[in-house]
Every structure is written in C-alpha cells, then in structure tokens.
C-alpha cells in the first residue's frame, strides 16, 4: 500500500516537472479603455482568436465604469482585440499573449464625429428554435446600414459565459470583405442544459468603415445614438 502511494506520488511529481514553467499560471489580457482626454470608458472588448479580422470570435469581457477589463484565456497566442464603447469608433488591435502571462494593454478610443453613417440595430428577439424545441434558442437581431457597407461584425456577447459570437447573416455572403446585407441576423444558442438569460447578452455592430452602433444591452431597447463631443 505504502509502495503504491509512493509510486503514484513520484509519478505525479515527475509529471509536474515535465510541465513548462508557468503552465499553471493564468493566461489573461487586462487593460484600460479611455478617451483621448483620459476619461475612462465603459464598454466591451471582444477577441478574435488568431490573426485579426479572421472573424473567429472567442472570448470577451465587459469594460467597467472605471475603464478596466480582464479576459482570461485558455491559451496564449495571437488574438485580435476589438474595443467598443458607445459613441466611439471601435478600435482593432492585434496582440500576442504568452501562455501563463498577463498582457496589459491600453486602448484609446476616438468619438464618432457623426452617427449618421452608423449601422442601426432595430430589434432584438429571443425565440425558441422551431427545429430544436426545448434545446435551442434563436437570437434574432434586425440590422440595417444607411450606406450599405455592413461587415461581418454583427456581434453578440454573452457576459455570463464570456463568449463572443458573429451572428449569421440573412443570406450567404461571398467573402468577409463583401458588403453584408441588411436584415435579420441570427445566432442559435444551446439551452439543453440551462436556459439563456437575455440580460446576459450584449450586441454591437460595426461596418467596413468602422462606424459602430452603441452597445445594446438588456433590456435591448435601441435608443437614438448621440454624438460625443471630445
């Protein structure tokens, strides 16, 4: 018995030695979001995993009123960090995080000089799936763009799960650089284990020219956008 316990302990110790240094440490991106004048900005930060603009959305976080955010990651590597705050042009930034390390970033956002070119979120709906009754909820986001140059960034973020998603366009789109159509974008959410809470969901849309909607949070009632004077 004693020999067995000792053998297992030795094996575990040897396995621990084989792990790279810092493998047990948290991999994270933390940072501060502010305006050019230094004012902290609340909002959202969402990550693409891999090369920036690949539209493979991964983790995300809410940015609090003091402008701080923190995203914990499953692994290090290259990420596309996108920062959003209502009334500001969104900011993309390619970053690299080492596994087991915390990357500290500072994001400075610039207010949108006009909101006339912004995409518009008209309506949000959470409806049960017709085909996967009781197992899936469909989130529907009705979106339009005054200039017809919507891009793939029709995004949903679940704050409880810390996950960001690109919503599916109403029809097939040739490439990520194509102008995406106006209409109802959808996201199917698996609710077979637990229902999804609408209050956990936040939405933001940006077009190819970086014009960005306000962040739409619960109760998901769109309001007229305001121009922020710097």
């Amino acid at each position: 018995m004693t020999r067995t316990v000792l053998s297992i302990s030795l094996a575990l110790w040897l396995m621990a030695l084989m792990l790279p240094p810092g493998a047990d440490a948290v991999t994270a991106i933390t940072g501060m979001m502010r305006s050019q004048s230094g004012q902290p900005l609340p909002g959202l930060v969402l990550l693409e995993k891999g090369e920036i603009h690949n539209n493979r959305w991964d983790r995300g976080a809410l940015v609090d009123a003091s402008g701080r955010f923190r995203i914990e990651l499953a692994e290090g590597g290259q990420y596309g960090l996108h920062a959003y705050s209502s009334g500001y042009i969104y900011k993309p930034n390619a970053v690299r995080v080492e596994t087991g390390a915390t990357l500290e970033v500072e994001v400075v956002l610039v207010p949108e000089p006009t909101r006339a070119n912004d995409p518009v979120i008209k309506r949000v709906e959470f409806v049960p799936s017709e085909t996967r009754k009781g197992k899936a909820t469909i989130i529907k986001l009705e979106v339009s763009d005054p200039n017809g140059d919507l891009g793939p960034q029709v995004l949903a973020f679940n704050a409880a799960a810390g996950r960001a998603f690109a919503m599916a366009p109403p029809r097939w789109v040739w490439s990520l650089k194509s102008n995406y159509p106006d209409g109802v974008y959808q996201l199917e959410v698996d609710v077979s284990n637990a229902p999804t809470e609408p209050r956990d969901w936040h939405f933001v849309v940006a077009d190819h020219k970086c014009n960005t909607t306000d962040i739409l949070s619960f109760p998901h009632e769109p309001k007229p956008p305001q121009v922020i004077r710097p």
């Binding site: 920036i52 603009h53 610039v110 006009t114 006339a116 990520l176 970086c210």
Partner: protein
C-alpha cells in the same frame, strides 16, 4: 496655414537631398496633398479621416520603414503589401474615391516624409508585437521577389546596386510624381506589367527592401 505649408517646405529640402535633379516642388506638393488627405476626409458626409483613428504620430512614424509587410485583411485578402498598396486599399474602403491611386500616392509620400530617417525594418514596427505568421508570409514574399527579380531585372541590374534606389520613391521626375510600383510597372514594356496593386510588385519590392534593413527611410542612395 503654417501646418499646411510646413510639410511642403520641409519636403522641398528633403527632396533636394534625396532626389538630386528632380523638381522637388512637385514632390513637396504631393506631400502637402498627402497631409491633407491624411487629416481630412474628402467626403463631408463621412468626416472620419486617416488621422481620426491613427492620431498618434509616434505610432505612424515607423510605418514607412516597416513596409512591405503582411496586411491582416479579412481572409483570404490578407497578404504582403507595399505601403502604397495598403494605402490604396484603405483609401478605397474609407474614402470611396474614384481615383484612389493619386490619394494613396500622396499619403504614401506624406508618411514616407514623416518617417524619414527611421531605419528600414520590413515587417516590424517599433513598439508593436511581432507575429511569426506575418514574418513567414513576408519571407515567402521576399523569396518570390528574388525569383522574379532574377528573371526580369538581374540581367541588367545587380540587386545590390539597384536596391538603394528603392528608397528614392515616391519621387518626382520630369515634372511627374511617381511611385516605385508605377516605375516597376512601366520599366519593362516588353514584359507583362506586374500591376501596381499586384502581389508580384509587392514581392519584388519586398526583395529589394530586405537588402536595405537598417538604412534610413528617405536616405540618399
């Protein structure tokens, strides 16, 4: 007013140093036009200009020295581009100009003037993270450019001797301003043009610039 005139005046001096015999005034005008394009949108309905988002002079000063480099556009559009090609893509997308080439050339001249003296470092911007995949793409571009150069150029031009001339662009000659991409496109009329916006042009320039690492942008050859 002073802000508008200063780039032109300084550019004349710079051009006089870097471009012996060229009409420096026209390059100065191009740089001044580039500053205007950089800071002001041509579309009054969409006043977002390059400088609206890229407002940090320290961030943009190293751009000219860092090209050609991999531009991470949405796949499959991401590729190694020259500064002019990257500017043309951005101008088309953000400004919606019918003649993106002239605006892109002007912005390229302005950014090159702004980056004068910064050591050439293709693919790398000081203070920015370096990504292995992007450097691999650049190395592949340099390899393709070397192959193209050997077949199109080397019979007349030793690459070691000709590469420093790449630092003289954009240039003014015979009263015309010209990009390196444009020069390469018309230099061998007997061969199909590689296209100013094309990958072969970026590859040849990547090859030439790879031989210039460490030399200052805008330096006389």
């Amino acid at each position: 007013m002073i802000r508008s005139i200063a780039p032109g005046l300084i550019a004349v001096v710079w051009a006089g140093q870097a471009l012996a015999g060229a009409p420096g005034g026209s390059l100065g005008q191009l740089i001044a036009e580039g500053e205007q394009r950089w800071t002001r949108s041509p579309d009054p309905r969409n006043p977002v200009a390059c400088a609206t988002c890229h407002h940090d002079p320290d961030e943009t000063r190293g751009w000219a020295a860092s090209f050609p480099k991999y531009r991470p556009l949405p796949p499959p559009e991401g590729r190694v581009m020259t500064l002019l090609q990257a500017n043309a893509e951005a101008v088309r997308r953000h400004y919606g100009l019918a003649d993106a080439e002239r605006a892109a050339l002007a912005i390229t001249a302005y950014l090159t003037w702004r980056g004068a003296g910064v050591p050439v470092s293709p693919g790398i911007v000081s203070g920015q993270p370096v990504f292995d995949g992007r450097l691999r793409a650049l190395a592949e571009s340099v390899g393709r450019g070397e192959w193209l150069y050997a077949r199109r150029c080397q019979s007349c031009h030793d690459p070691g001797a000709v590469a420093p001339a790449a630092l003289r662009f954009p240039r003014a000659a015979n009263g015309q301003v010209e990009s390196l991409e444009g020069f390469l496109g018309r230099h061998r009329p007997d061969l199909p043009s590689p296209g100013r916006d094309g990958q072969p042009t970026a590859d040849v320039i990547a090859f030439l610039m790879s031989r210039l690492a460490g030399r200052p942008v805008g330096g006389a050859p």
